[in-house]
């Protein structure tokens, strides 16, 4: 508990110091609870998520960084490895491939990489996975782009 707090505090200071270091990621710690974080990440370019801003919610366990944080999308996203209803993410580094050398910042980067490189096998979102697996790339992209526009872009007007 003490260790996780100290480590999160370090990450907090790091984020404050290098606010502009990675323009695609904006990490914000909850005002009253250092174990709760939010992040805004930009959809990677040349993907159907380009132009969208996606919000992630982090819940950090007391055993952090020996155990991974729980992360989910708060913004709706159509992606094979993200549960469409709950925003749950299936990513190996958040499970059995976790290492304490990952930080919240680098987890965000890994999630951005996942957005660009979906893993269609064993998907959390079957519709999305099936489109990709059947080779219907255009179908997948148009669905994903539609949801990016509906949920991850500022409303016009």
């Amino acid at each position: 508990m003490q260790q996780s707090r100290a480590r999160l505090f370090k990450e907090y200071k790091e984020v404050q110091r290098e606010k502009s270091a990675d323009p695609d990621i904006q990490l914000v710690c909850d005002d009253s609870n250092i174990f709760k974080w939010n992040a805004l990440i930009k959809g990677p370019s040349e993907t159907p998520f380009e132009g969208g801003v996606f919000q992630l919610a982090f819940s950090v366990p007391e055993q952090y960084p020996l155990q991974p944080p729980q992360v989910r999308f708060l913004t709706k996203i159509f992606h094979p490895n993200v549960h469409f209803k709950t925003g749950e993410i299936c990513l190996d580094i958040l499970k059995n491939a976790w290492s304490p050398a990952w930080t919240l910042q680098s987890v965000c980067r890994a999630i951005i990489a996942l957005m660009a490189h979906p893993e269609p096998d064993s998907p959390l979102n079957c519709d999305s996975g099936n489109l990709l697996r059947s080779g219907d790339i255009r179908g997948y992209q148009s669905m994903a782009r539609m949801y990016t526009r509906l949920a991850a872009m500022p409303k016009k007007g």
Binding site: R7, E11, N81, D92, K95, P100, A101, S106, E119
Partner: protein, 523 residues
């Protein structure tokens, strides 16, 4: 009738023989042998043979495998261990893969680092460094008691973080056998650091993971399921194809008697499948049927039914088994990874699903058909015999102090006379077990089963039960009257004689029952 197949009779040391200090009576071994349970005569075509392995025996085999690999491939013992764990302790497979593509097997096992630097943790004493785990900058001077530790791959973290990393991994489980460098881009094996960084207690745990990994990789070796028992049982001969259930019953060093085939407690005369069905039935009646059915599977290693706890497909069977497997395909978890299509998918399962091998729904429907009432009838009888047997087993442990010593004092009995009483208790325990399972057998007899056979079964079961009740009350109640000061020895000897013959009768009745069930009730 005695068969000469030793494995089917109780071993001499199965129940500690009542032992008093003076070694006077040469007690009649043969009489004692023949009255402990019964032997299956004839029938079995194959021979099944077991040997018991202590923790030390297993360690010796592990060491032999490690030294074979390390000397043959000229790698460190730690590297050899990683290779063995990673490849199911298959020495020849490692040789083969090593000589066909050394770079590839090194990479998949995380042994990319030259051997000369794999000696383990190196504590560096100079300069400054940044620890990527606690995110702390360290300047080496004596006021900070946190020093840099460099892994063989060259990655540096502070000693505190290394220790926590290694120790937590060991506590977490067998995954620590494949512990990798924390640096995400590196993932070199850090097995060489375990010894210097793990606490004494966790070194022991790590050792345990190593031994378990070895045992789990061997189809012919299983750990004894009794809690706290460190013995394993090796099946030397017999692959089960033609053997009868009872052939697989074996008694561990801890005196636990189990069915090697399904790892449940010994359950003849019914087969493993009936036991598994019954246990599932019992659990599912106790809780929400459908939920259990949808969320339990037998552990592929020990066959105990275990529940899926969370969303994750990584299942770990509870102690003592601790086998880790994939929920989808029930294959060993250690084999999941690149081979099964990476973390995301289980190819084995996808393949099987295409072939329609998974019929969870069917089981649910089948269970629902059976009426609760009928089940309750059989369950109550099964359970009362189970509880009764449990008590007998407990009483058996205290038999010398509670009864035998007193009888011996009052009536001046010889060892072989006292053995008659012990044998009777052992017989009662064994018969309770058989009777208990005969109720599961009865439950699974189909509704439209041959009426004559059903009658025959119920007749044999009834006879057996009747004599058992007589014997049981004789040794549980009557006997106590003769342990009081001033009890008549003449009357005691009459009782002892009754006990002797009733034990024999009971054995015969149960032998008939067991034989009839084994023959499918052909009268």
């Amino acid at each position: 009738m005695m068969s000469d197949d030793e494995d089917m009779s109780y071993d001499d040391d199965e129940y500690p023989p009542y032992d008093d200090d003076d070694d006077q009576g040469d007690y009649d071994l043969e009489e004692a042998e023949s009255s402990r349970g019964w032997d299956e005569d004839g029938g079995s075509g194959e021979l099944v043979e077991f040997s018991l392995l202590s923790g030390r025996d297993i360690r010796a085999r592990v060491d032999a495998a490690i030294s074979e690999i390390s000397s043959f491939l000229s790698v460190s013992n730690e590297a050899a261990l990683v290779l063995l764990c990673k490849h199911g302790w298959n020495v020849s497979r490692i040789h083969e893969e090593w000589f066909s593509d050394e770079a590839k097997i090194r990479k998949s096992s995380g042994l990319t680092v030259p051997e000369d630097s794999s000696g383990g943790a190196e504590v560096r004493g100079k300069g400054t460094f940044f620890c990527g785990i606690c995110l702390e900058n360290y300047v080496h001077n004596n006021s900070i008691n946190c020093s840099a530790v460099t892994a063989a791959c060259g990655h540096v973290y502070c000693e505190n973080c290394w220790r926590t990393y290694v120790n937590t991994a060991i506590i977490d489980g067998a995954g620590s056998l494949f512990l990798r460098c924390p640096e995400p881009s590196c993932r070199a094996s850090v097995a060489g650091m375990i010894n210097s960084l793990a606490s004494d207690e966790n070194r022991g745990k790590y050792e345990d993971h190593v031994l378990r990994s070895f045992v789990e990789s061997k189809k012919t070796i299983k750990y004894c399921p009794a809690p706290g028992c460190e013995f394993a049982i090796e099946c030397l001969i017999g692959d089960g194809s033609n053997c009868k259930v009872c052939d697989y019953e074996v008694t561990c060093n801890c005196s636990y008697r189990l069915c090697w085939n399904c790892s449940e407690e010994a359950h003849s005369p019914v087969d493993c499948e009936t036991v598994a069905k019954w246990i599932l039935k019992r659990n599912s009646e106790a809780e929400n049927t459908n939920w259990i059915l949808a969320n339990t599977k037998p552990c592929p290693k020990c066959k105990k039914w275990i529940q899926k706890n969370q969303g994750c497909m990584h299942m770990t069977c509870p102690a003592p088994c601790k086998f880790e497997f994939c929920w989808l395909c029930t294959g060993p978890w250690s084999e999941h990874g690149e081979k099964t299509g990476g973390f995301y998918s289980c190819n084995v399962y996808q393949e099987a699903k295409r072939n329609c091998e998974y019929n969870e729904q069917e089981r649910i429907r089948e269970m629902a058909k059976n009426s609760l009432q009928r089940y309750t009838h059989y369950y109550e009888r099964w359970n009362s015999n189970r509880l009764s047997r449990k008590k007998v087993m407990a009483d058996l442990d205290e038999l010398p102090a509670r009864i035998l010593d007193k009888l011996s004092d009052i009536h001046r009995l010889t060892k072989s006379e006292l053995q008659i009483i012990t044998d009777a208790w052992v017989q009662v325990a064994e018969c309770r077990r058989v009777l208990m399972w005969s109720y599961a057998y009865g439950y699974y007899l189909p509704e439209n089963y041959d009426q004559a056979k059903k009658k025959f079964f119920e007749y044999l079961q009834g006879e057996a039960e009747f004599t058992l009740e007589k014997l049981h009350s004789l040794v549980e109640e009557e006997l106590l009257k003769h342990t009081e000061e001033g009890a008549s020895s003449g009357e005691y000897l009459r009782l002892q004689n009754n006990v002797f013959y009733l034990t024999r009768n009971t054995r015969d009745y149960f032998q008939n029952l067991v034989r009839a069930l084994a023959n499918g009730l052909q009268s």
